[in-house]
Symmetry: C2
Subunit: 137 residues, 2 copies
Amino acid sequence: MRDYAKMLKEHSLKATFQRMTILSALDTMGHANIEEIYETVLKTHPTISLATVYKNILTMVQEGVVVEVPISGEKSKYELKREEHLHLICKKCGSVSDMPMRESIKEETEKIARSSSFKPFRRQINIYGICKNCRDI
Amino acid sequence: MRDYAKMLKEHSLKATFQRMTILSALDTMGHANIEEIYETVLKTHPTISLATVYKNILTMVQEGVVVEVPISGEKSKYELKREEHLHLICKKCGSVSDMPMRESIKEETEKIARSSSFKPFRRQINIYGICKNCRDI
DNA sequence: ATAATTGCAAATTTTTTGCAGGTTC
DNA sequence: GAACCTGCAAAAAATTTGCAATTAT
């Protein structure tokens, strides 16, 4: 559990309970799309509106507090901003899990970008497949 | 220009002119979202309906003739299926360009997957930044 | 105090669907 | 000629907007 109020204030966003609830939901869920976030926050704060979830996800993504994870064939999920990592995405159960980024991958992608005079900001690596759980079934 | 009819038939899809036109549009554009595809096919075949574009993109993605490229902060784009590669995505002009996949990246991602007993099918790597053109302006 | 944020309801945009007629193999 | 595909119009789903009331700083 992180200090959500601090995260928000560092980006000059007001620490409303709606935002704190959304961040807390993302923190426990790891990755979730708008609908999933909305359903989760409703459980503890039934007055939060869907429009507020939309507006805040947009704002918090713009401010870099939250990161969008676009996924083939699904609606985008969102996660709290943290160190760079990659995603293992199970095509069976839909789970998303984080794995640390390797230095060598960073270096290779830097090289590739450099070879096109492309100035990279950030990477996004998704690996699609079947997770351990679904495989064992 | 590839043999679109063949591509379709290999996946037991009928080679309608609507599908051929969509594939041809993707071939020339490289990457495009639904709206862009629709606008482009309209130029040569003004009778094609938007619903047909939606239905066909869905079908052709399911059959693996076309691949979805989900992009942070934008609507998904689509491209013709081809060898594995990665994407340089310019946050200024929105251009997407393909770069060859490096062996070492494949290997590293295999290792990462293996370490979680995850069985990988395919990777998707997006590098976001500023392209040469936009940088020079 | 004030500037930002919220919830609501409505508007807009995006995507999906059902079906009668047409096309491909 | 059978199964598949199309266009249309309508329905459903997803997202955005405007605004008066509320809240954080």
